[in-house]
Amino acid sequence: MSKPVKAVGLLSGGLDSTIAAAMLMRQGIEIQGLTFYTGFCVVEHNRRSKTRKRKKPVRNEALQAGAKLDLPVEMIDISGPDYLKVLTDPKYGYGKTVNPCIDCRIFMFRRARQYMDEIGAQFMFTGEVLGQRPMSQRRQPMNVIDRDAELDGLLLRPLSAKRLPPTVPEQEGWVDREKLGDIQGRSRQKQMELAEEYGIEDYPSPAGGCCYLTDENFGRRILDFFDHEGKENLTMDDVMLLKIGRHFRVKPDVKVVMGREEGENKFLERYTPGRWRLETKDVTGPTTLVEGHPTDDDLRQIAGMTVRYAGSKADPGTPVTCRYADAERILEPSPVEESVLETWRI
């Protein structure tokens, strides 16, 4: 008996990639799932930072899909300086916001190709659908991505395969092209029919906007960072903070990040070292971190902002504890006017 053909599937756990995997499993392909941790996934971030008293837990969908289909899933951490260069210096530019989707795809596919070779798989596949996303899932960008990621025809997109030129796995007869999909566009109708046919239930809703890099607010914050601190100085810690809370640029060299709820406050506490941390004394309020070099006047204003967001139990003169390393002081700030706050908001 010949050894089964092995493929690496880039698995987000969404409906498309789950169906693509199921489609190939029905052709007898042995599948190794692969998912990347980039640090920019909205769902992952919400899992980490929001209050934990939720009714329904937020799941890691790639792992859940692996468990559902009974296929192994490898998670690879690609967050780091090399991936950040994709964000700061994309060869193919940004989409609507600060989203370097084409360069990101190239980066991921190169890494997937490397993993494919490491585990001795013959080809790789994704759940991409032709014409589903505006930047990276059109025919011309797909060709650019395949060329720059040096995939040599080894990437199969099973859901749209019949609308694309045959790939090596099809030409070699590892997979039957006739049994692959001809899906195109944004509708999910065909995918839902296939899910029913394959017995796939309980799949997540469409994950549009699942990446922070396509989020307008995040885009504005990251451009503010590039302008004031220089894109070459961006680290993953900065990225983590850019994703959370309210942000204010009080002065060119002073920025404030303020938690909006208990989960965010706890998340921010992890980033205290090297920053001022402000909290209302005696009443519940936000955790406020200050980046840069605030003067005494700046701190007083930021303490006022902290009271402003502390809710109805905080009077204007509510004391605020300000800590930096071992130093601690208590301020009783004046309120900050709403119109001033708005000029600082990022």
Partner: protein, 77 residues
Amino acid sequence: MIQPVLTLDTFGLLCPVPIMKTASAIREIAVGEVLEVLADDPQILEDMPAWCASNGHALLDTIEEDEEYKLYVRKVK
């Protein structure tokens, strides 16, 4: 009584990092041996069973005490 041959401390780390570290640690033990994972991120209660199910390992037990967790994973293959 479960007798782990290796303990992985993931205190302070948030998922999926503890899962990625578990995947690395499991490579260091032999089939049939048990890995103990210490964690304080409650998301691990969702992720570890799914990771074990997809990768074919057995989650033998999960002990929860004061928002800290001990999970025991037997390497099956």
